[in-house]
Structure formats: structure tokens, C-alpha cells
Amino acid sequence: AAGCGGGDKPIGSASSSNPSASTSSSGGGGGAHKQGGSVTIANVGGQTWPCQFNPFNPAVNQESLGFVYEPLTFVNVLKAGATTPMLASAYTWSPKKDSITFTIRDGVKWSDGQPFTADDVVYTFTRMKEQPALDLYALWTGAGLTSVTAAGNKVTLKFKAAAEPYFFNFANQVGIVPKHIWSTGEAASKPATWTDPKPVGTGPFTVESCSSNNISYVANSNYWQPGKPYLQKVQYPAYLDNNPANLDLASGKAQWGGQYIPNIDNFYKSKSPQNNYWFPPTANVAIVPNNDPSHPVTSKLAVRQAIAYALDREQISKIGESGYQPAANQTGVVSPTFDKYFDKDALAAAGYDKPNLDKAKQLLQSAGYSDSNKLKLNIITVTGYTDWDASLAVIKQQLAKVGIELSVQDLQQQSYNQKLYTGDYDLAYSSQTGGPTPYYELRQLLYSKNSAPIGKSASTNYSRYNNPEVDKLIDQYAAADPDTQVKLIKQISSYMIKDVPVIPTTESVDWYQYNTKDLDGWPTQDNPYAQPAPYNMPDVGQVLTNLYSKSAQK
Amino acid sequence: MPEQLLEVRDLTVEYDTGSRPVVAVDHVDLDVHAGEFVGVVGESGCGKSTLLFAIAHLLSSPAAITGGSVRFNGQNLVTMNEKKLAAMRWRDFSVVMQSAMNALNPVKSIGAQFQDTIMAHDEVVDDGRPAEVLRLVGIDPIHLRSYPHQLSGGMRQRAMIAMALLFTPDLIIMDEPTSALDVVAQRSLMVQIKELQKKLGFAVVFVTHDMSLVSHFSDKLVVMYAGQVVEFGDTRAVFDHPEHPYSAGLLDAFPSIRGPKVPLTGIPGAPPNLASPPPGCRFQPRCPKAFEDCPKIEPELYQVGAVQARCLLHAPDLIREAQ
């Protein structure tokens, strides 16, 4: 696996003041491009556009964050959290990492021409305190934010405790909104429900028109990055279903896709040499066993181990996911994206690097199962996730070989969630959202505070794994220095091997297709400057400022 | 001799039943002169209604005329096209159906049904004509605005007859117009028809299976059996001297309210299945006078005095050993 690691700076290191510096190698031509051209995005939203752009509305912020609203700092998940300054040209952590000071960029203007100031930043964060509904990432409640203050062009966020893990949220995922708009009218009185139909932001684009079928963005002429964006228009049609979106991508009608396309080489790639795809992995798809003692079978270590040993993850990847999602490994560290944290040797030492059916059978025997007393297990999954269904069909076959009878229960999203969250299952097929380092996913999976008693809704630790030692390691991470952080993650992942709390099967990827006929500057495996799928926010903004039209260069 | 109005020759009608066709009217001949009242009797299912519909060319599948002609005022109705027929219908001959309940369109008022007819013929008729004919049959013209279901059975029958009189046709074909009525009502309706006929001079072909009913009203009588005409002649003549054993049987079978009370006997057996009639004479299996030739030879209509009868007993060229 190439293209990762290298000279990228992890979170916390001093940052460059030139936003385009880290991407200067991108886009082939290097440096500036002429403006012109447009891109059409094909990404199934499964709904028609409501034409709302409120960045605090979790249902619609995908259409505004990155396009219109920008964060303080961009954090690149694909480069282990490398940062790119955006509205903050720099930031510094206090030594104890419980306070951070952003330097607000000069010369930025809102798309309505008003100047952007530190006041806007403070306003944005303060509103989140006053209106809890705006505080999507629970910064004031969960992360321990205590104050936001401005001094000149500096804005300081103070926390109760070390808060580095939340940097990704508050610096990267919160879009800054203009105080002069948001402090009047409905935006002020009901900021959470305000529709924000004509959003004013600092981002590269503004909304030109919106209908239920299509959002059309135009370049923001006031954009603070000189010469950018190169593209003058973005079309974002509302696709309701995969097939039409896929067809449009294959035909080149849409150039930027975030789609799962079955048989993609044949259906998409072969249609044109300019059709490309890249699926960078960011998190795990896993069999989540219920570790709670109330589930006597799956809380048995030997059973979990047997499953882990029995799986041929390469096959699952190849057949179930058509090879698009790479095989995962039992450490829970996504490779190659986070290879830096990946302890390959530990994996091999435990024998999890390849399937081991004998070991699996032996474990099952030790747990008291045999041909006459077969281990029968139920796994829940979500109706409509056909690749999961396919993977499970493969897994079912694999487990059958060691004498485990797996029956797959496809549930409607709602029922699935309910069962998963409340722990009403034996096995669940599930995936989590990653973060800029494996820490984020591992914390979600293993931290006992993210769990809940059976019957209560757990936030992310659905397996109900509870190990004080792991909790301690996770707690240490926030205040640790980068090298220690790497060590901590390796330590945490060793428990994945030891306790097998969850059993990763494949790595979930960003579905990403791009067409280079007229457009270039795409994120690629060699230049992973942002998560490439258009549904990633605010990464979409990074891509949009790097894309340029080849025909416009002539 | 009054002029010949209707001349039916060799008329044959078949019902297509999928397997063997049912010959419901079998080579029937019939003559009607202007102003004449011809009664057609015969037991149920012998093809009376079918004959009427064939004459008026109103059959629809699965029935079809498979032979013969119907000459009305010299024109053959069988080969005439729908358009010409439509023009003649009702103006030259009209039909009163078996049950008035079903023959009147339930969703149109009586008046509207009159108007329909008038419009279909772009005949210049008086606006008052519907009211006039209704009055003729003894119905208050306010019923022009009524719907069929608002009238009693007798009134509906009368309304039908009024409708048939609309253009004063030459011939009115009536299919058991009184079968739904009780005797008193039936009687008064018959008397009315007879009076109108006298007044307006149209001819009537009147179907019933009630022998006694026609006895008082009809001039000529046609007795049908199993799709065939078995006896034809002046009503009085037939009643006085039935020449066909079936007619005789019929006349013997009903009691009278006057005169001496005599024990009566019916005709044993049941009418034949028209899809596979018995060989030879169709009445032969039930006939008290049958002899050995009867199952062998199909009788024709033979002239016997004033009447015609389809019985081998009257066949001129047959040596009748039976006698």
C-alpha cells in the first residue's frame, strides 16, 4: 500500500499557514489553474432535496458543510489526521491540552461581502451552548467545553480536561456561521430549525438555486483562497436510488460519485478510460458479538475466538464485497490507512493472520460443541445493505465448515438499530464511523462509558465490552504525546486480539468514483488530500477547491 | 283476402352451445295478414320467443338464423343490413317483450325512452304523441317522468304497449305480455289490446303458452311443439277440431270453471331435448296415437280441412295401417 504516512503532520504539530501548501502536489498541473467548468455529483441521498442548508441541522448539513460553511481546520482522516488550516490559520494547544487557541485568518469575507471575524467564531460556539440542539457533538456537555473567548484575532476554547480527541469535532466538523445573519430574525430565535434557504458562508461555493431535484452551487466570488475555486458550478441532483446514479456515473453525465456500484469494473470502469474509482478504507465492518453475560454463548471467549479463527477474511472481501472492501484484521486497526498503528506481528503471533479451521474447531469442542450439539447462532443485519448480505452469505458458509450454524436475520433499519442499541442480539453485523486515527473507532467499540446495560441504549459500544484496563488506556490517550498515542493504540488493539470483543471482517471504505475526462485535481491513492467521497463533510470542500476543468485551461 | 304482411318461410334458428347446436326454430312457415291477430302457443321452451326474435331479427349470439326468410311487406328482413333494419324497426313493426320489468331501461325515465325512440327515427311526431299513446293504454301521462321501477307490473306492460304504438306500426309482436299479471289484470289488458287493434288496424303476433288466453282473442292460431309448427289455422277451427294429437292433448288438459266437472288427463312425458330431438315425428314418444311409421318418417305440414297439421295421420300419400 502506497501513498500514506510520509511527511504528513499528525494532529497537534505546528501547522503551515498556507492552506494550499499541503495540497500543492495535487492536481497534476501544480499551483493555480484557470477558472471554469463544472462538476455533477452522483450520490444517493435517498430523498429529494429539502432545500435547507442549516449546518446545525444534521439531516441537511451534508449539503452545506464544505460547500458553503467551512471549519476552522481541516483534519485529513486519510493522512492520520494531518491538518490543513482553514478559517483558523493556526492553532496552539495548552500544554495540558485543555485549552486551544485559534488564530483567525485575516481577509476572509462572507459570501455577502461582510468581513469574517473572530466574533463569528465565538458566536458560533456560544450559540451551541445556548441552544443545546445546535451542539451536535455535545461539545459543551460531553467534551467539557467551558468557555469560548476572543481576543483580537485569537479565539480560545477552554475545556475541563484534556480535549484533544474532540479536536476532530470542534475544529473540523463545526461550520462557522456569520453572526450578522444568525443573530437576527428566525435564525436567532430558532437557530436549530431555521431553514437557512440562502446560506451565507465563507466556503468556495454558494447556493445558486435549489429545487427538490437539484441543488446548483456557483463559485463564491469572495472566496478567500486566491483564484479558487476553479470550478464555477456544482450540480448536485437528488438521486433517490442507486441505479440511476450509477448509470449517470457510467455515462459520464455525473463525474463525481459516492456510490456502491456492483461489478464496477465492468459496469463503470470499462465504459470509459476516464472513469476511475478508489475506495480508501476508513473503518471496520465487524461481527459484533454480545459480550454481556446475559448472552451465555457469545459472551464465551472460546466461541468468539472460534469465529475469528474460522473466518477467511480475504474471501469475504473478494466475494462478499467484490474485493472493493479490503479484508480487515483482528486488531481493529484499518490498514493500510492507519498502518502506523498496526501491530502486524502481534496479529501473526496470535494466529489471526490467516484462517485456522482446526483451531476454531478445537475451541468449539472445548466450549462443548460438537456435530451433535451444533453451535447455532443468529446474526442480525440491515435490510438493504446488500453487500453485507453477500458477505454474510460467505461468512455463513465459512462458519458452517467448522460446525457453526449461522442464520442471518435481515432487519429493517429501525428494528436493527433497536436491537443493536439495546443489546437484544447474539451477533450483529455492524460498522462504526472512523476518525482521524484508529483511536476513534477503538474507543467507540471498546470504551465502557459508551456501553449501557442490556435493555438500555448504548451509544457505540454495542458489544457491551467492559475492561477497566482498556478504559484506562483510552483515558490516557487524550493528554499523550503523538508517539505515546501510537503506543497506546497498539496496546488497545492488543485487547482486540486477546478478548476478541468484536470480530472485524472487512474494512468499510469510502465509495468514490471520479471521471477525468474534463476534470482533474481529484484526490487519489497517491494524493489522498481528503476523504474523497462527496458525502464526507467538510472534506467535500477540499476536493471542490482542488478540482479544475481541463478544457478551461486552454 | 287482406294483404299479406308477413311471410315467414323455412325459418331455422340455432343456438350454438359449444357441442351440438340447439335447433330452437326448425323450418317454420308463418303468414300474417294485415290487421290479423295471430296467437302462437306451445309449451315452455318450444321456441316461441326464439321465433319472434328471429322474425324481428333481434337474435344475438349464441343464437343465429341459419336458414329461411322473413318477408315483411315484401322485403326480406334476414338479409337486410342493420341500417335499413333500424329504420324499419318500430316504425313498421314493434315488439313488446316478455317481461316489461326488464325490457324498460331501469335508469331512464319512461319519457326519455320515448324520446330515444323518436330521435332514432328522426320521424316528425307530435310532441304530444307519447302522452297520447299512454292515454290510449290507460296510463296517466304524468308517468312520462317516472322511472320503470316506480310503476307497477301492469303499468309497465301498458307503457310497453304504448311505446309499441308510438309510430302506429303495421305489426306488433308481443311475447307473453301478460304472463306477469294476475287474471283480472291480464284480462283487462288483453281486452284493451284487442280494442286498440280494432281501432288502429295493426296486426298482432301474440305468443303465450296459455291456450285458453288466445282462444278469445286471436284470429289465427299457431301451435308449436319442439321448434316446429305442428298445427296452424283459424283459432276457432283448431279449438273445435284439433287435428294434431298434441293440440288435442293440450285442449284436453285444462279444466273449465263452467260446465260439468270431468276427470282430465294430461299428456304423459316431457318435451324433447332440442339438441337431440327424437327421430321422425317429434311428438311421437308421447303421442297416444303413434304408430310404427312415426319414428321413421318426419311429417310435414299437411292441409287438413281448414287447418294445417304436422301429423302422419293426415299424410295423404301414406297408407295408414293403423286405421
Binding site: 433517490l240 458525502y535 | 335508469v107
Partner: protein
């Protein structure tokens, strides 16, 4: 008159009962709006807790903690007053009225026209087939349409797509209501685009729905033609066409009309699949979406709308029969 009052009473009572069901059934579904929303979000890379979402939803007017009976009363009130609230599903915060307002014209335009067209066409063809019983049309039409009436909606849709919309030179578009590049306006280009996009879905509905009407109408027609009054009309010399439509057709049509109203619920249901396959942004698709995202306000409004539409249609058809059939008028 009493008949009409009875009908109206029935209307109100049924509507109320259906509305009550409409309220409770969605609430018996597992999951909740906040979980639905949370699921959607994970794709975009944010981790938002369920509690946080509850706060957000409360802001949008959905309070799951409220007593169910109070919710019900509030619901009845809001349904009657037309304050249908805002979506709490995938279109979080959008007023339900505007969501429906956007989708309704398309559904009415496509599904409505296609359904009515199917009914009218079917009735006409059925009339002719029944009239010319045993003729060429009657020989071909019923068997063919027995087959088409048994075809699954979505399969016909797929077939049409594979015939006309897939391949190197698709003849017709297979999705959406108009080209995404266009802005709705009354221009030739836009109208043409709308028509082009409507052809396949409309044909789907037409092909599958018309058969049933043809067959029932034909059978009604045949039965009616056997009635004496039709023969009577012929005897009166009334021209064939007038008998066909004015006598037989009209009377055969009456039961069909009631049947149309009664089956409207089924028709609307079927169109969900059509809209789903063709990505047609109408009410059907919205219904599906609202269901999977537990969007109570939207679901309730849609349920109400459909129930009301069917009920009103039944009522109208009843009145039509009432007007057309004097027997019905005196019956009650």
C-alpha cells in the same frame, strides 16, 4: 336525501377510524425518529449521540416523552386544522405541507392521470369488446389483458427500463420527473422533459391497470347486453353506437364506477412501487421514505391524504351512481 346524509355520516366515521389507525400504527413501529436520523448521519462521518438528536428533534416539535393520548388529541386537532408540522425524518425541519406540496403535483400528474386514463381507456375498450362479443377485438383483448393484469408493477417497470432506458442510446429517461439541469418553468423544453420522463412510469401503470377495467367492463357489458332492455333498444331501431354507450355501456358502467372507487386504495399502493423504481419524486416514494425513517408527521399527513382521497372518491362515485341510477335514488 336521507341517503346522502347517511353517506356523509359514514364518511366522517370511517375517516375518523382510519385516522385513528393512522396515528397508532406508525407509533407501533420499532425504532424512533432519533434513531433513524442517527443512522443517516453516520454516513457523513459524524458521531452524534441519540440524546443529542432527541434535543434536536424536540426543537422540531417532536416530543417522544409526551403522553400518547395527548399526542393523539393533538394529532387529531392538527389534522383537522391543517397544521401538519415539520418533517422529523430525512427532510428534518421541512414543513410537511411544503414537502407534500412539492410531491403532490407529480403524483397527481403522473399516477392520477395514468390511473384515470387506464380506467377510461379500459372502460372504453371493455365496452367495445363486450359489444362486439366474439369479434376480433373480443377474441384478442381479454386474454391479453388477463395476462397484463397479472403482471407485477415493478417488473413491468424494470422491463420497460431495460427496453427503453438502458443501453448505449437510451430512448427514454428512466428516472426523475424532469432533467436535473432544467429549472421548472413553462417552457417547451421543460414540458417536453416532463413528458419524456413520464412516459415509462405512466405506461407501466397503464399496462398493468387497464386490463382489470377492460375485463370487468367487458363482463358487465356482456351481462347487460343480455338484458331485455338492450334487445328492446335494438328493436326500437336505435342505432348501435347509441345502444352501446347510452344503453348498455351506461348501465354496465355503474358497477364499474363503484369498483373503481373501492379499488383506489390498491391503486395508490401499487404506484409506490412504480415511483420507487422510476425514482419519481412523488408521494409514493415519499411514503416509502417516511416509513423507513419513522417520520411521524409526514406519515400521518400522507396517510390522511390518501385515506381522504380514497374516501372522497368513494363518496363521489356513490353520488355519481346516485345521480346516474334512479333506482339508487329511491332505495334509501
Amino acid at each position: 336525501m336521507r341517503y346522502l346524509i347517511r353517506r356523509l355520516g359514514f364518511f366522517v366515521l370511517t375517516l375518523w377510524a382510519a385516522m385513528t389507525l393512522n396515528f397508532f400504527i406508525p407509533r407501533m413501529m420499532p425504532g424512533s425518529p432519533e434513531e433513524a436520523l442517527r443512522q443517516r448521519l453516520s454516513k457523513g462521518g459524524s458521531v452524534v449521540t441519540a440524546e443529542q438528536l432527541r434535543t434536536v428533534l424536540a426543537e422540531f416539535g417532536f416530543d417522544p416523552g409526551k403522553n400518547l393520548m395527548l399526542q393523539y388529541l393533538g394529532y387529531l386537532k392538527s389534522m383537522v386544522t391543517g397544521h401538519w408540522g415539520v418533517s422529523i425524518g430525512s427532510s428534518l425541519g421541512v414543513p410537511v405541507t411544503s414537502l407534500i406540496g412539492d410531491a403532490l403535483p407529480w403524483t397527481l400528474g403522473l399516477v392520477g392521470i395514468a390511473t384515470v386514463l387506464a380506467f377510461v381507456l379500459g372502460t372504453l375498450i371493455g365496452t367495445v369488446a363486450g359489444w362486439r362479443r366474439g369479434g376480433l377485438i373480443d377474441g384478442i383483448v381479454p386474454p391479453v389483458f388477463i395476462v397484463t393484469s397479472a403482471l407485477p408493477y415493478f417488473w413491468v417497470a424494470l422491463l420497460l427500463i431495460s427496453l427503453f432506458a438502458i443501453g448505449d442510446n437510451p430512448v427514454l429517461p428512466n428516472d426523475f420527473n424532469y432533467d436535473q439541469g432544467l429549472t421548472p418553468a413553462f417552457t417547451g423544453e421543460f414540458v417536453w422533459s416532463v413528458i419524456k420522463h413520464g412516459i415509462l412510469p405512466a405506461s407501466t401503470i397503464l399496462v398493468t391497470a387497464v386490463g382489470g377495467w377492460i375485463l370487468t367492463m367487458r363482463n358487465n357489458m356482456v351481462t347487460t347486453l343480455a338484458e331485455d332492455y338492450v334487445r328492446m333498444a335494438r328493436a326500437k331501431g336505435i342505432p348501435g353506437r347509441r345502444i352501446m354507450f347510452g344503453y348498455a355501456g351506461r348501465n354496465a358502467f355503474l358497477p364499474n364506477l363503484s369498483g373503481f372507487a373501492m379499488s383506489l386504495g390498491f391503486v395508490i399502493s401499487g404506484t409506490i412501487l412504480v415511483e420507487y423504481v422510476f425514482n419519481y419524486p412523488g408521494l409514493g416514494y415519499m411514503f416509502y421514505n417516511a416509513t423507513v425513517s419513522t417520520d411521524y408527521p409526514l406519515l400521518q399527513a400522507l396517510f390522511l391524504l390518501v385515506t381522504l382521497a380514497v374516501l372522497i372518491c368513494v363518496l363521489l362515485c356513490d353520488f355519481a351512481v346516485f345521480l346516474l341510477d334512479p333506482r339508487a335514488r329511491t332505495k334509501g
